[in-house]
Symmetry: C2
Subunit: 90 residues, 2 copies
């Protein structure tokens, strides 16, 4: 995953932290914001996207949604984890 | 969510149970299989789709991926949960 100014990575915080981050990006003039997550955080990424669209910015829509598999370093060598990229646009 | 023969609902079982269900649908002659999940099961749905595509049926691709919000009955009245629909085709 490459880092971009308009990318929000989902971690262990509560969904509202990431909702705020996405809304802030749009309010700062971005026309597209990407939400990225891996493994168990994927459910949270979907929550964040849906909360942004339904509660805060109803003019935002899904431009694309991509599912991939990435290899990350685990405790016992490389492990494969699923990932999601949600491309939001307004 | 409407039930269809070619729809696999993700619940609390291990991912491999659902991978087997998807592969079986394709092997029974379906050209399209839909994976549906809500809430915390969304991560598992993505795992299932990626395992099917990368390990079992490399000719299967994503036709569409849809994110929505559904209202379900919770212990204290209706609650909103995110859901995912992953449309697989070969």
């Amino acid at each position: 995953m490459e880092a971009n100014d308009n990318t929000v990575y989902i971690g262990k915080k509560k969904p509202m932290s990431y909702v705020l981050a996405v809304v802030t990006q749009f309010n700062n003039g971005q026309n597209e914001v990407t939400i990225k997550a891996r493994g168990r955080s994927i459910s949270c990424a979907v929550d964040v996207a849906e909360i942004v669209r339904n509660r805060f910015m109803t003019d935002v829509s899904y431009k694309d949604i991509r599912l991939t598999t990435e290899e990350v370093e685990g405790e016992n060598g490389p492990v494969k984890v699923s990932s999601i990229e949600i491309f939001l646009t307004k």
